[in-house]
């Protein structure tokens, strides 16, 4: 009997991740390669490679997959993973989509539709109201709706996220102009200027619940993750389970998650995001109808392979049964390594990986999209890899993350590794005293070398140059934030 083929409509570390499980199950792995990814790690590790012009060209991907005799497609995250039109095209072509149905994606995709659905199913949502801002803002409508909700308020775009079309409003006088500019931004980003108002929580925590449904109305929750440490709506450090949650809040979250899973007859893996206020009250934010970047921390504390469950449900449903896990075991943390330099305003720093060494040891796991010698281009997302640790307690997990980062070495391009290392040493992170804008507002990252660092560096560099150091005579100049190998410094000097 011919081996069945699984194609991953994605790239980098998530493609490599799915390939691992697919191989373990004995399937043939098929990769996509778009221009710019020719040297990529996921291309090295595939049984078959199909060239496409873009990871977003769903028609071409389905056509090529069909031609190649692919049986199932895993969408990864981002790209086409939450596009119902892709699911429909895959299924119409007779292939299996390893994820939820297109109908579920439509039901939960729009923010307003999802909120209304959540309310209908008895899941708490933030006090909110829909408004329609057309052309000039309707001053009186806005004001009365806002007054009912209570300030501070967050104006959000109904058609999309990522911070676009979002404005914080602290009082009535700011409302009209904020609505006009938010709506204009939303039109430019998503083609739709519809906004809604939501009560704003000042120091929220972002807690999400991993779920898995059988598509027939039953499902399980696989506990929570804390993803509060974010920068510009990009997650940086994630944990499972969430520290410092009351049992009441935990159970409430799990029950709410299950209501949604059962209510929409959810199929495959998904994540429900909630926002928590300082009192521990939680509110539904949105549901992500896909596997998430930070799924490894859930795998570590449950001992499950979520990709394996997705493949089994899709390809051998007669053998599939929902997993049963009594309680999470130990604590897991994941950090995301990005090609950016936090000491230079988080500037993107693509380049070539000249020297690479990943940490290994007990409780250390690396999900990497890069290989030594690979040139990282600018056409794709800047996430390079994920470093995950697992340990018996949170204290120990943070110690282990600090160790793993101290053993990590990616040289030849810029990364946020030193920033991540500083997070692992932060007292506030250790105490769990963080909220979603903490990284931007309070975290004091100092990229400048300390006196100790300079002493060490001068000795190391002198060792490299073959001469030694007279401490008294050493002069050092800390030069601002100059880094890049390809930088040309203007002869005019700084302006």
């Amino acid at each position: 009997m011919a081996i069945k083929k699984i194609l991953v409509a994605n790239r980098s570390e998530i493609a490599c991740r799915v390939f691992q499980t697919a191989r373990e199950l004995g399937y043939w792995t098929v990769a996509l390669c778009a221009p710019g990814d020719e040297q990529a790690r996921h291309i090295t590790y595939a049984d078959e490679v199909i060239r496409v012009t873009s990871y977003l060209d769903h028609a071409a991907i389905v056509a090529e997959a069909k031609k190649a005799g692919v049986h199932a497609i895993h969408p990864g995250y981002g790209f086409l993973s939450e596009r119902s039109v892709f699911v429909e095209a895959v299924e119409k072509a007779g292939m299996i989509f390893l994820g939820p149905t297109g109908a579920t994606m439509d039901a939960l995709g729009g923010k307003i539709a999802a909120k209304e659905l959540a309310e209908k199913l008895g899941v708490p949502t933030l006090p909110w109201a829909k408004i329609n801002v057309q052309g000039k803002a309707k001053g009186t409508d806005l004001k009365s709706v806002a007054q009912n909700l209570g300030f501070p308020i967050l104006l959000k775009a109904a058609a999309g996220g990522g911070g676009k079309g979002m404005r914080k409003v602290t009082n009535e006088s700011e409302l009209e102009s904020a609505a006009e500019s938010a709506s204009a931004e939303a039109v430019s980003a998503f083609g739709d200027g519809t906004l809604f108002l939501e009560r704003l929580i000042e120091k929220p925590r972002h807690i999400e619940i991993q779920v898995f449904g059988d598509g027939k109305g039953e499902g399980v929750h696989l506990f929570e993750r804390e993803c509060t440490l974010q920068r510009r709506h990009q997650k940086v450090w994630e944990e499972a389970p969430a520290p410092g949650l009351s049992e009441k809040t935990r159970q409430g979250l799990y029950e709410a998650a299950l209501k949604l899973v059962r209510g929409v007859k959810y199929r495959s893996a998904g994540t429900i995001e909630f926002i928590l206020d300082e009192k521990g009250s939680f509110y539904f934010l949105e549901m992500n109808t896909r596997l998430q970047v930070e799924h490894p921390v859930t795998e570590e504390v449950t001992g499950l392979d979520l990709v394996r469950l997705q493949i089994e449900l899709g390809l051998t449903p007669e053998k599939f049964s929902l997993p049963e896990v009594d309680a999470p075991r130990g604590h897991s943390i994941e950090v995301r390594l990005y090609a950016e330099d936090p000491s230079q305003g988080f500037m993107p720093t693509p380049g070539t990986v000249h020297s690479l060494s990943w940490p290994n040891g007990t409780g250390i796991r690396v999900e990497s999209g890069i290989e030594q010698g690979q040139t990282i281009g600018t056409g794709f997302d800047s996430m390079l890899a994920k470093i995950i640790v697992h340990a018996p307690t949170r204290e120990h997990a943070i110690d282990r993350m600090r160790f793993a980062l101290s053993q990590t070495s990616v040289l030849g391009m810029g990364t946020n590794q030193s920033y991540l290392f500083a997070l692992s040493e932060s007292k506030q992170v250790r105490a769990g005293e963080v909220y979603t804008s903490w990284l931007e507002k309070e975290f004091e990252y100092n990229p400048d070398p300390s006196k100790e660092d300079l002493e060490l560096l001068s000795q190391v560099l002198s060792g490299l140059s073959g001469s030694s150091v007279a401490r008294a005579g050493l002069r050092q100049e800390a030069v601002g934030s100059e880094w890049s190998p390809w930088q040309k410094v203007s002869p005019k000097g700084v302006v």
Binding site: F346, S355, D453
Partner: protein, 146 residues
């Protein structure tokens, strides 16, 4: 993080040992006898180091060489020269406009991220040298500013 360390002229002749080991590691034995295992990478004349979770990019020059004579200003970052390959997504402050320190002048895009070129001090955007949608390379001058 990039630092420049200038080694002084009157240096002791006893070398600090550095040993290359398998796997791309080097071990430096410090003056106090402690060992540090590091990775070293030399790219285009600059030395990149990875020591215990911190990344450093250093420049090695002997005291008395031309490099060492230069002043700090010549080596400071010119924020109006592109540091990475990207695309000009939006021009926020037009040619001739007055800006305050921290104001965005233009937005660049690379790796699905937006990066703002900001005014390092109060001043005037004399001329924006690029167009929206234009692709830029490292070293391209973006803005004339005073």
């Amino acid at each position: 993080m990039s630092i420049k360390i200038v080694l002084p002229e009157n240096i002791k002749r006893e070398a600090i040992s550095i040993e290359e080991r398998p796997g791309g590691w080097s071990v430096v034995t410090l003056e106090n006898g402690k060992r540090k295992w590091i990775r070293v990478c030399k790219v285009k004349g600059k030395t990149s180091l990875s020591i215990s979770g911190k990344l450093w990019h250093g420049e090695l020059s002997e005291f008395g060489s031309d490099r060492a004579q230069s002043t700090g200003a010549d080596h400071a970052l010119d924020v109006f020269v592109s540091q990475f390959p990207g695309k000009v997504r939006k021009i926020v402050s037009q040619s001739g406009s007055k800006v305050k320190k921290g104001d965005s002048i233009l937005l660049l895009e690379a790796m699905k991220m937006e990066f703002a070129i900001k005014a390092p001090k109060d001043g005037t955007v004399m001329s924006v040298l690029v167009k929206e949608g234009q692709l830029v390379s490292p070293g391209d001058r973006l803005v004339d500013f005073e």
